[in-house]
């Protein structure tokens, strides 16, 4: 059957070799698309690392498990399912050009991914690594960022002798330093250091490496029977993220495969999220179709400590943690310093997994013990929230590929308070022109959400039930319709909603791509949510409606010049007068061929009535730097990014950003303020300077 395709393959080889240049633009575009679809927090270091990782470590299509193929970010749902089924039916692929016989692959798609996949079958052992370790790559990277004028935290620091108020202890410069060594995906080690703006650099027991945050790792992957061995700092991300997931995942989006988490065990921690990782050791061993893994972690964690008397007759104070800080990691002021590594955090657990060609199922167990008990604020919405020193969670999960359907799910259970959470989904490739994603989830109000990443409307998987329907339809050759409809209910009261509430989220996007040099899309989003009415003291819901329209176009004038335009509007309706927001931008990107430099620039104008109308945009930024910008004001945004590459593989990025607030925003004060609290600056203009250096050797 394959024979008749070989003539075609040879032609394809010739054509593809002509285009044999790694297309990082394709990865950058994908990353922009991924980040732009969410207004939630994005772990940019993790995402960038994950995507660019495939350049030096192409995915072995013949050796990869179904889960790895389904989680390969550059395949869509239909393509991943077709590869799994083809492999099961005909055995290993002989060449990547064999992909051409799969209906969902075309030559453009194949040329985009050809350097990110391969079909070799040589086994990797420790001996192979010892022999070839010198071909590994080292890389160091450092970034510094500062802004002007000074913010309140800095001004108070200068006037400290006359002003006893809280202030920043360190300089205005944000800085990080990263070093890593990688031998393909099999062996890597690295060091990451970070200091946030306002934090002090000093040498003491809390900060032995001078920087406020430090992290080190050693990682071995897929070597003989060792699936993963992690020493130092690492992530544990399992299945659908209900039982245990220390990384970040994307929320609802028009990329319908994002509804499914493709977490797959232990991996090194390379991010700079200061509390969201494990510190210790983890190992997973694979034997035939069974994998067994275990981990142990012991570290300090940031938390807010409070104390109280049990009752009036007892004079002994009880100390407890009112907040466990999972995000942020700021230690800029004395009060933030008091939260620095205040509690010790011991965790252990493991998992067992069985996987064959079509089916995967497993079980996971986690035990966590803190040095002080957690006791959240005494509010009605915290009635079911976990309290105590330690907890035990377990979960079971499954992931099956049945022809053109991928079924997956997880059921998780907390022993400590007998709460459950479950999610079950299906990715269905109905036709080469139609993909559907369905997902049902139900999370108890008391479910323990520390270190979880469940899919849903709320940021954490608790107190929610919902049904998600995503679709992707190829209407015509150049016209595609994607989107989702999600219904959700909050089963109990929660913050800002003192009664069970409901809502929905609708997203529709029409994409038009007639050629490689032009594409455009129109996006519509409508969200409806019940919250407390601000004007009434009793629990009485009002309905908040947010509606957004976006038109975006990208046009390549020539091989080196690209223009991008966008218009976006948002409206917010509640029981108050409707507020509006709008934003327009023009990008100019210049990438001359065979030159060592490139630059891009943007001018954007926004008109925003209040914070609820804010509009997020993706900005070109130095690699690994956070690229999202929040237009939550009326005024101007301008930036220019310059990138220079030397012949010795050194990259230099310089970015200048400018913000000007023209009129006050209702939610802020009336002085055209930029920032709030200690971050607020004087005046209505802000300049930001970023410099990054990367060297590979």
């Amino acid at each position: 059957m394959r024979g008749k395709y070989w003539g075609f393959f040879i032609l394809m080889v010739v054509w593809l070799k002509v285009n044999a240049q790694i297309d990082t633009d394709f990865i950058n575009q994908y990353m922009e698309q991924m980040i732009e679809i969410t207004d939630e927090d994005v772990d940019i270091q993790q995402l960038t690392d994950q995507l660019f990782h495939y350049i030096n470590n192409p995915l072995n299509i013949n050796k990869a498990s179904n889960s790895e193929i389904l989680s390969f970010p550059f395949f869509n749902q239909a393509q991943a399912l077709e590869i799994c089924n083809h492999r099961k039916k005909f055995g290993d692929f002989l060449s990547i050009y064999e992909f051409q016989i799969l209906p969902s692959f075309d030559k453009i798609m194949l040329s985009n991914v050809q350097h990110l996949i391969h079909v070799q079958t040589n086994p990797i052992t420790l001996k192979t690594i010892k022999k070839n370790i010198q071909s590994g790559k080292q890389q160091f990277m450092t970034l510094a960022e500062t802004s002007a004028p000074k913010n309140q935290g800095q001004i108070r620091k200068i006037n400290f002798e006359t002003d006893s108020q809280n202030h920043y202890l360190g300089s205005t410069i944000y800085s990080n330093f990263r070093y890593r060594f990688d031998y393909k995906k099999h062996l890597s080690w690295g060091l990451n250091l970070e200091k946030d703006a306002g934090e002090k650099m000093s040498f003491n027991t809390q900060t032995p490496l001078v920087y406020d945050h430090y992290s080190m790792y050693l990682s071995l992957k897929d070597i003989g029977k060792i699936k993963s061995l992690q020493l130092g700092d690492f992530h544990v991300d399992m299945c659908q993220g209900l039982t245990l997931s220390t990384g970040l995942a994307f929320g609802k989006s028009s990329i319908i495969t994002n509804a499914k988490r493709n977490f797959n065990g232990f991996k090194s921690y390379r991010s700079l999220r200061e509390n969201a990782y494990m510190r210790g050791a983890a190992i997973s061993i694979i034997h035939k179709k069974m994998t067994v893994g275990t981990f142990i972690s012991n570290k300090k964690i940031d938390a807010t400590i409070n104390s109280s008397q049990l009752d009036s007759s007892n004079e002994t104070n009880t100390t407890y943690l009112s907040t466990l800080i999972e995000e942020g990691g700021y230690h800029r002021t004395n009060s933030e310093q008091n939260q620095f590594s205040t509690a010790s955090d011991f965790q252990t657990g493991g998992y067992v997994e069985y996987e064959n060609n079509t089916f995967k199922m497993g079980a996971i167990l986690q035990y966590r013990k803190l040095s002080l008990p957690i006791q959240p604020a005494n509010q009605p919405y915290n009635y079911f929230t976990f309290q105590g020193y330690n907890y035990l969670k377990n979960g079971i999960y499954y992931d099956a590929v049945l022809r053109n359907i991928n079924l997956y799910g997880e059921f998780s259970h907390c022993y400590s308070n007998m709460a459950h959470a479950q999610t079950h989904g299906a990715l269905i490739s109905v036709h080469k022109k139609l993909d559907i994603s369905l997902l049902y989830r139900k999370y108890d109000p008391g479910f323990i959400t520390y270190q979880t990443n469940g899919f849903g409307e709320n940021s954490k998987p608790k107190n929610e039930q919902g049904f998600y329907l995503g679709y992707q339809i190829q209407l015509k050759k150049h016209l595609k319709l994607v989107g989702y409809y999600d219904l959700f209910q909050n089963l109990n009261i929660q913050f800002k909603s003192y009664a069970p509430s409901r809502g929905f989220d609708l997203w529709t996007e029409l994409k038009y791509k007639p050629s490689r040099s032009f594409h455009a899309y129109y996006r519509f989003r409508r969200e409806l949510k019940q919250v407390n009415s601000p004007s009434e003291t009793m629990a009485n819901h009002t309905v908040n409606q947010t509606q957004r329209h976006r038109i975006h176009s990208t046009f390549k004038l020539s091989k080196s010049i690209e223009l991008r335009n966008r218009i976006e509007t948002s409206s917010f309706k509640s029981n108050q007068p409707t507020t509006e927001g709008s934003m327009i931008y023009q990008d100019f990107i210049f990438k001359p061929r065979n030159k060592s430099y490139q630059w891009s620039t943007r001018i954007a104008m926004s008109n925003i009535d209040e914070y609820a109308n804010r509009i997020y945009t993706f900005e070109k930024s130095p690699l690994y730097d956070y690229p999202m910008f929040n237009h939550s004001y009326t005024g101007i945004r301008f930036y220019v990014l310059y990138k220079y590459t030397t012949k010795r593989k050194t990259n230099l990025w310089f970015k200048y950003g400018y913000i000007q607030h023209n009129t006050p925003v209702q939610n802020f004060n009336e002085q055209y303020a930029i920032g709030s609290g200690l971050n607020e600056i004087t005046g209505n203009k802000k300049h930001t300077f970023t410099l990054q250096l990367k060297h590979v050797f």
Binding site: I436, L469, R502
Partner: protein, 79 residues
């Protein structure tokens, strides 16, 4: 959309109400029909239909955000 896939779209505007849009999809495979769809009045549904000769069985499940889940079973025989 194709020989075996049908899509349905229905828009309804009532007085003083927001427009309600219903979208449905039907996939036909021999004697079976698989259906799924949603309307903006906060409802998602799906179902399977089996037809052989004059005999028809329909099984469906709809999930409404306010009214809850409603299963349904219909059988019919036409002559």
């Amino acid at each position: 959309m194709t020989k075996n896939i049908n899509t349905y779209i229905d828009a309804l505007q009532s007085n003083n109400q927001q427009i309600n849009l219903c979208v449905g999809l039907e996939i036909i495979k021999e004697h079976y029909k698989f259906r799924t769809g949603f309307n903006l009045n906060q409802m998602i549904g799906c179902g399977i239909s089996f037809k052989k000769a004059s005999f028809l069985i329909d099984v469906g499940l709809s999930f409404h955000n306010h009214l809850g889940t409603s299963p349904s079973l219909n059988t019919s025989y036409a002559w």
